[in-house]
């Protein structure tokens, strides 16, 4: 049995993206998730997908800063995986009576709904950035995702000075916002 301290340390490790913590959570939970999926009409690949998704839900939760461990990691990961797999089965029009049983699990409806909403939003952002083309895509990623300084970016991209790079980045950002928000308002954002 894992002590509560140990679990807390694992979650803190996960929040920092610590490789060891991620591997430990994987080692201690993957088999049971694989069993769940395979015993309920799924394949080993399905199990991998579901486990990855459940890890992301847990990660988002610990990163949000408001997460309190009120159950074991195992219970949480299992409940999320179970719910995700049930949803997947419904989408595929496959049915498995065993996963319908609600006993012994915690409710994770809200988390999964939030997670799906966030996924949809970020997929849209990803598409919007991709649709800008170059150099906009790389310029915005360098500044906003890799957090590099403008003078470095200017030199890297071959601008003669930082002001010209800033000018270009500004135009790219305005285009991104326009594309993203137009798309978002057009009903793909789940409200």
């Amino acid at each position: 049995m894992k002590s509560e301290n140990n679990e807390e340390a694992l979650l803190q490790g996960l929040a920092r993206n610590d490789k060891k913590a991620v591997e430990t959570i994987y080692r201690e939970n993957y088999n049971i998730i694989q069993l769940l999926v395979i015993n309920n009409n799924g394949s080993a690949d399905d199990a991998k997908d579901i486990f990855q998704e459940a890890m992301i839900v847990l990660y988002e939760k610990v990163r949000s800063g408001t997460f309190e461990l009120n159950c074991q990691i195992r219970t949480y990961v299992y409940s999320v995986s179970r719910r995700l797999w049930l949803k997947r089965l419904q989408q595929l029009n496959r049915y498995s009576p065993a996963v319908e049983n609600l006993d012994g699990f915690i409710s994770v409806e809200e988390e999964i709904e939030e997670h799906e909403k966030r996924n949809a939003e970020f997929e849209m952002m990803d598409k919007a950035i991709g649709s800008l083309g170059e150099p906009c895509k790389s310029l915005l990623e360098a500044y906003y995702l890799q957090k590099r300084k403008m003078h470095e970016i200017a030199a890297n991209f071959g601008y003669t000075n930082a002001d010209n790079a800033k000018n270009q980045k500004y135009k790219c950002l305005m285009r991104l916002k326009k594309i993203f928000f137009t798309h978002y308002k057009n009903g793909n954002g789940n409200g």
């Binding site: 996960l14 993206n17 991620v22 591997e23 994987y26 991998k48 486990f51 990855q52 890890m55 992301i56 990660y59 990163r63 966030r118 996924n119 970020f122 952002m125 990803d126 906003y144 995702l145 957090k147 300084k149 403008m150 800033k166 000018n167 500004y170 950002l173």
Partner: protein, 66 residues
């Protein structure tokens, strides 16, 4: 100041890239100019959203299976 310079100032302010004098000057500007103040608030939210988006893009690292 034109829009490009304003955005640049706002971003350097939020990212802590201003020197102390410039920072103080900008903070005074925020107090007297509600539009700039609003831009700082809005852009802070935008940058937070971009941070989360960046994490989301890196999410494959969470999985030892990949």
């Amino acid at each position: 100041m034109d829009d490009i310079k304003i955005l640049d100032a706002v971003e350097r302010y939020i990212r802590g890239e201003m020197n102390p004098d410039e920072r103080l000057q900008f903070e005074n500007l925020r107090k007297t100019n509600p539009d700039i103040d609003q831009m700082v608030v809005e852009h802070t939210l935008f940058l937070q959203q971009m941070n989360r988006f960046g994490e989301w893009k890196n999410r494959v690292r969470l999985n030892p299976l990949n």
